[in-house]
């Protein structure tokens, strides 16, 4: 006996009920459960769909789908780090390296201006506030729109949000930094500060703009089922 379309939908609900929220993990588990239920029905045709489903789920052990979710998260984190590194590296090879050098030199010269620390702090503050507003708006529209969310998609969004969070928390550290008069610092200290700031800016740009902009493309590259799932 084969499973019907509505029973497949039930299985998707079943995975959600057991804390599997991402479509890529759900679809694999649904296929597994469906195959197993069909097999169970061969030997025990009297079992109801619910009973067969529970019987199949028990085979996953006491932790249910948790081990599967954890392994998938680890796999995707690795994938995300690789993607991040791929785009980060681009800024240190031609032609983008020229932008990085210009950015580094600009920060270096900027630090030499008097009261640069206050301008820096002010800019950062304005930026973080705008970013917060933007993210709040995006989250609202995203929640309304999407049904099939892929794990990598969530990671792209969460890392982006996490970066702003880190910036907010560190805002107070930056306030403390403003006690330092950068313009009177020795040149080697200015170089270290500029270099750190440049690396931070590049990473910010990659996580915040480049990866989210290319999200669709990256999802298609990562998930062979992405297009197929969207058309279902």
């Amino acid at each position: 006996m084969k499973l019907t379309e509505s029973q497949i939908d039930e299985l998707f609900k079943f995975t959600r009920k057991h804390y599997v929220y991402h479509y890529d993990v759900q679809s694999e588990l649904v296929d597994h459960l469906a195959n197993d239920i069909e097999e169970i029905w061969v030997s025990q045709p009297h079992l109801s769909f619910q009973e067969a489903c529970e019987k199949s789920f028990k085979k996953f052990g006491i932790f249910g789908f948790m081990d599967v979710i954890e392994a998938k998260q680890k796999q995707m984190s690795k994938r995300y780090r690789n993607i991040m590194w791929r785009f980060f590296k681009e800024w240190f090879t031609l032609p983008k390296v020229t932008t990085t050098i210009i950015l580094f030199l600009s920060i270096l010269f900027f630090l030499k201006i008097q009261f640069s620390e206050y301008i820096l702090l002010g800019t950062l503050f304005v930026f973080v506030v705008f970013d917060f507003i933007n993210q709040f708006r995006n989250r609202k529209t995203q929640k309304q729109k999407k049904e099939k969310i892929f794990l990598l998609e969530t990671m792209i969004g969460e890392t982006k949000g996490g970066f702003t969070g880190v910036a907010v928390i560190n805002l107070f550290n930056f306030v403390n930094l403003s006690d330092i008069n950068f313009s009177s610092l020795e040149i080697h200290w200015c170089i270290i500060v500029s270099l750190t700031a440049t690396l931070f800016c590049v990473l910010f740009c990659v996580i915040h703009y480049i990866i989210p902009q290319k999200a669709e493309e990256l999802l298609e590259e990562t998930y062979p089922e992405y297009k197929l799932a969207k058309s279902l």
Binding site: E28, V30, F60, A71, E225
Partner: protein
């Protein structure tokens, strides 16, 4: 059914070996194949199979392919080029291990 603990560490090798012999396989098919080949002596638990498959995929040893079968999506796993090389290494490792175990369990004393 034999003790699961004994073959837990060999799960990745078993998966790689199966995929070497079959072009592509999906999760459920792997569990059934192991059951069939060992006449039910070994049964891969679902909670261990998928984490192992995802780990192998993350390490670049497996590639995936998805197609619509009946009314659902099916994810097939197949070996990548480095996966094929790793299979050879893992199998050699496994044979070494079996030989060592044989010596330990069944030592032949000689004068």
């Amino acid at each position: 059914m034999r003790s699961q603990k004994l073959f837990k560490g060999s799960l990745q090798t078993i998966i790689l070996r199966l995929l070497e012999n079959n072009d592509k396989m999906y999760g459920y098919e792997i569990t059934q194949k192991v059951k069939e080949l060992t006449k039910g002596e070994l049964q891969i638990t679902e909670g261990a199979l998928y984490p192992a498959l995802h780990k192998l995929e993350a390490d670049g040893l497996l590639d995936v392919e998805v197609s619509k079968v009946e009314n659902r999506l099916r994810k097939y796993y197949k070996l990548t080029e480095s996966g094929s090389k790793e299979t050879v290494n893992k199998l050699a490792e496994m044979e070494d291990f079996l030989r060592t175990m044989q010596h330990l369990v069944n030592p032949k004393f000689s004068l």
